[in-house]
């Protein structure tokens, strides 16, 4: 499966590079803005003169970074899943399916890629955010100003121990959504191939599954904590196994 994983990453290479570049641009802007901002200036909402260029750089830079860390990562992780749709329904998939690896390995590589991207992003963006917040604090911009200006409130989970795990939970929930998408794509290609309304049926099934997981989540400890994480992990594993089974037994290319 390592070879499959290698090629899955290779396929996503340009998207990941683009993300890296955008992140770098955002970070540079933020750092420049931080560096150029006069020491100790207090940014007030509505104040017309907010320190000009440095503040602009700071705002745009951090905005960029949060976009990258959220939508950017989401898009990158969606790619292997979306690619599967193309691969299962057209000739493009032959290159992938001609190799002597079964469906579990093929899907496993895609899921693993996403796990790695998400885990990596949580660490990278999480640490980057903490680093940047610290830098801003050094320049005299405290958490209050931050929460006003860039809607970023590290105070809620301001300890290192709290911030990363909460990001992690978000990433895990996203992974569950991705797995539902994957399941849906394989479902469409297997049982509902060529049948009318396939798209709508699978959409309904997706919604059902999402609701199911939300319900299970809230039944546990109110959507946070270990139980929620376990439920999501369980969902991910179940969906992976179900998708693999379906693909192995019921898909014809």
């Amino acid at each position: 499966m390592t070879k499959l994983l290698h090629y899955e990453f290779r396929k996503s290479r340009s998207a990941l590079l683009a993300l890296l570049v955008c992140t770098a641009v955002g970070e540079v802007m933020l750092l420049l803005g931080t560096a150029l901002l006069p020491q100790g200036i207090f940014l007030l909402r509505g104040e017309p003169d907010l320190g000009g260029m440095p503040a602009f750089l700071l705002l745009v830079g951090s905005g960029f970074l949060s976009l990258c860390g959220t939508f950017g990562v989401m898009l990158c992780s969606l790619m292997p899943v979306w690619a599967l749709r193309r691969e299962l329904n057209s000739d493009q998939g032959l290159m992938l399916f001609l190799v002597p690896e079964n469906s579990f390995a093929v899907l496993g590589a895609k899921v693993l890629q996403n796990v790695l991207i998400l885990a990596g992003s949580v660490l990278a963006y999480g640490l980057l955010a903490l680093l940047d917040v610290s830098l801003l604090a050094v320049r005299g911009i405290g958490p209050d100003a931050l929460s006003e200006v860039i809607q970023f409130d590290p105070a809620g989970s301001s300890t290192w121990g709290g911030f990363l795990p909460s990001l992690g939970m978000v990433a895990l929930s996203w992974l569950t959504i991705l797995m539902i998408c994957l399941f849906s794509i394989v479902l469409q290609a297997s049982f509902f191939r060529g049948k009318r309304g396939a798209f709508w049926i699978s959409l309904l099934i997706d919604l059902f599954l999402i609701l199911l997981i939300l319900r299970a989540d809230s039944l546990s400890s109110g959507g946070t904590g270990i139980f929620s994480a376990l439920i999501n992990c369980g969902a991910v594993v179940l969906l992976y196994l179900a998708s693999g089974w379906m693909m192995e037994r019921h898909v014809s290319l």
Partner: protein
């Protein structure tokens, strides 16, 4: 090691792509798989490559139903343009080498050289003819037990066809079988020794070609015309 097809059936909705198909592919032979478009040749090949699940019956390799693993022994070359367009000719070779233990990078390089395929060129910039040559080179660089070549000569010029045919003859041995599906009946006549005719999803004939010539004084092309013209099977 025989590739056995037993009463294989494949239905796509109401269309019967394969019906009661039974025949064996034995090592030491080069087979011509002949028949009109839509007669089931590609469906059968894909079934043997475990890309298509049978509706009934199936294909057995070494006594077991074919699966993803059997692709290590059975090399399927689709007629479609399936290489990743962002790969270079060389990277295609590396991909095959990564997944197939029987792939020889040296042979691939040699074949690409013979067919004038620049190694560093990206697939997306190759003409359709060159892509077809590249596909054939990749397939023939494997040391598989069965080769299923789906219309390998499509879009290829005469000289390259000769080169590919040559590599097929070189590769053929008492230990492997080659199945060539092609519309160029006359061109492959002297290279193949057995022929399997498909018509409307069924096997219309399965014969030894030299015997056909000796007994009926017919060429493969003659036999094709005889079997394919006329009422449905």
């Amino acid at each position: 090691m025989t590739l056995q097809t037993k009463e294989a059936e494949k239905n796509y909705g109401r269309t019967k792509a394969l019906q009661g198909v039974t025949f064996d592919i034995e090592p030491g032979n080069i087979y011509a798989l002949l028949g009109p478009n839509g007669s089931g040749k590609t469906t059968w090949m894909k079934m043997a490559a475990a890309l298509v699940r049978p509706s009934a019956g199936g294909v057995l390799w070494e006594g077991e139903p074919v699966c993803a693993k059997t692709r290590s022994d059975i090399a399927y070359l689709p007629t479609e343009d399936f290489f990743y367009s962002w790969m270079t000719v060389e990277e295609v070779g590396k991909y095959f080498a990564d997944f197939f233990a029987d792939f020889s990078m040296d042979r691939y390089r040699a074949l690409c050289g013979q067919m004038e395929l620049p190694e560093k060129q990206k697939v997306r910039t190759l003409s359709t003819g060159m892509r077809a040559k590249c596909r054939a080179a990749a397939a023939m660089s494997r040391a598989a037990k069965v080769y299923l070549l789906d219309e390998p000569f499509n879009g290829i010029d005469l000289l390259a066809r000769d080169q590919i045919m040559n590599s097929i003859l070189e590769t053929s041995s008492p230990d492997n079988a080659v199945v060539i599906s092609s519309h160029l009946v006359e061109e492959i006549e002297s290279a193949v020794n057995r022929a399997i005719f498909f018509r409307d999803g069924r096997v219309a004939a399965d014969l030894d070609i030299e015997e056909l010539r000796a007994r009926e004084g017919k060429s493969l092309a003659d036999k094709y015309r005889e079997l394919m013209q006329g009422k449905e099977v």
